[in-house]
Amino acid sequence: MTTLDLPSRVHATLVTDRRELAPGVVLLELDAPELAAATLPGQFVMAIPPSGEAAATALGVYEAEMRRASLLFFITGKRTRELAELHVGERLDVLGPLGNGFDLSGSPRHVAIVAGGVGIASVLLPAQALIRAGARVQLFYGARTAALLVEAQRFADAGCEVALSTDDGTAGYHGYVTDLLERSRKHDVVLACGPSPMLRAVARVAAQIGVRAQLSLEETFACGVGGCWGCVVPIVRTSAQAPSFPPASEGGSDVVNARICKEGPVFWNDELRW
């Protein structure tokens, strides 16, 4: 297997490990040296379905070290089911790394990371990078039920303080993960990835407790590379986007549509106008 003859961001990877972490939750480990070396925390790939019969799927890069990159995903439909059926030794082509990751500059000392469900897949790399840089990282991790709280130990091993919550009370705090964040009140910055309602709650809580938050957004992707304008979110126009972005509303306001796949997926809560 070689990636040398391919353009720089196409990787022909080999599946080196495949584990079912919980029913319907799969971890695929890939031999992907170039991808592993290039990925920044919070970036994603487009995984090309081996059958070629469905569109590519956006997946966060969960781990990236040495030759290894891994993808952690929930089986939610046809495309993720096809990826879940890959065996060790089979080939998976991915495009990436794509998008902009979390902004880890500013040497934050106390960081809260909020992960909801499969959002956990995009926050291991930033957690590791922050801990390496000397930050204290608290992970608030929520899921519907205990069985879906996968990989919590992995974060503890990496040096995070982990607080869990479940919607049904089967593990950790019984309620929303954002309740845990609300009670903490001692962070320099919040990073979050999870379903939209959770991200909106994180944005609200962060504003209340006076902390800035970076949110990794999700929307249905087609191209994943900025070519189709299918994945937009309204944001306040920044100098980098002016004036290349179409307005997000009529009347020439300073709110523009940004592409989640290209300008995101991570945005600061105070630039979003969603």
Partner: protein, 320 residues
């Protein structure tokens, strides 16, 4: 022993392209977005996203839904408007190794004329496509592709404004696509793009909400391929100008179907979302196909489906 390579070159009006593969409007940005995944020198041309006279916000999200063998989209012609486009985007195109074709959308003949004339005046733009068939803008835009008289009026007006190749993109959402095709040719179109997306809808049975922010959208991908092949076949029977076949082309065999049905060129949209290397692969495999069959050029297979074609201009509209 050096064999002469079969030629993949084609002509659409005055526009000469080294390969018969176009990238569908709205699916490929300006090409740049895909440069890191494939060799863009192997692409015939990129059809740019449709541009309108004034900036357009586009539709609310979700704008995309994955459906069986395809997807629904309702982008809603989000674009920065022709002024901004000419000033900031178009200057970049001249410096690139691939050709770009401008795409014009509008809500009145005047709109089309205004945008077409300004776009066509630019050297960076190799040809103009008139998108008279966008299904996602509250049906206003679509009325053009649904009405032979309006089609004729838009095409004739734009024809008077430019010598560049004029491609007219037709909608499948009509009772008789041949009537529109016939009028478009008569009004001066150099080529026809067949087809745009097919109107569709999906509903979330848990929340009871439509799955697109715009409620309805346009279906693309392999799900619409047989509809598109038929449209190309039917249109090929009534026009003599070249057809750019499109709708669900993912493989070389799919491309060949369109060529055999009567398309001179093919366009790839949704398949780029599965794998951006598809266009490059199709070009290589088309060459192999011709080589294996001892054919000198791609033109030799156009319209060769074994069905028998009417002679051009035989069509005389509805017989009643």
């Amino acid at each position: 022993m050096v064999e002469t390579q079969p030629s993949l070159a084609i002509k659409l009006g005055k526009l000469e392209l080294p390969y018969p593969t176009l990238m569908g409007s709205g699916c490929y940005g300006s090409g740049e977005e895909f440069a890191q995944f494939t060799d863009l020198r192997k692409i015939g041309a990129v059809v740019l996203k449709s541009v309108t006279r004034l900036p357009r916000v586009g539709n609310p999200t979700p704008r995309l839904v994955h459906t069986p063998a395809g997807m629904l989209n309702a982008i809603g012609l989000q674009n920065p408007g022709i002024d901004w486009y000419l000033e900031h985007e178009v200057p970049k195109y001249g410096r690139r190794p691939w050709r770009v074709i401008g795409s014009v959308a509008g809500f009145s003949v005047d709109d089309y004329a205004y945008v077409c004339e300004r776009l066509a005046a630019r050297d960076e733009i190799a040809a103009i496509e008139l998108n008279i068939s966008c299904p996602n803008v509250a049906s206003e835009g679509e009325t053009f592709a649904c009405d032979p008289n309006l089609t004729a009026k838009v095409v004739r007006t734009c024809r008077g404004l430019t010598d560049k190749t004029l491609i007219v993109k037709l909608s499948p959402n009509v009772t008789d696509i041949t009537a529109i095709a016939f009028e478009a040719e008569a009004a001066g179109a150099d080529a026809l793009a067949v087809i745009n997306t097919v109107r569709g809808m999906a509903i979330d049975v848990d929340t009871w909400h439509p799955r697109l922010g715009n409620v309805t959208g346009g279906l693309s991908g392999p799900a619409i391929r047989p509809i598109a092949v038929l449209a190309v076949y039917e249109v090929a029977r009534v026009v003599t100008i070249p057809i750019v076949g499109q709708g669900g082309i993912e493989t070389t065999r799919d491309a060949l179907e369109f060529l055999l049905a009567g398309a001179t060129a093919i366009s790839i949209g949704t398949a780029n979302f599965t794998d951006p290397r598809v266009p490059e692969r199709i070009v290589e495999e088309l060459r192999e196909y011709l080589l294996n069959r001892n054919l000198a050029s791609i033109g030799e297979i156009v319209g060769k489906a074994n069905v028998g074609f009417a002679t051009a201009h035989e069509y005389e509209g509805d017989q009643g």
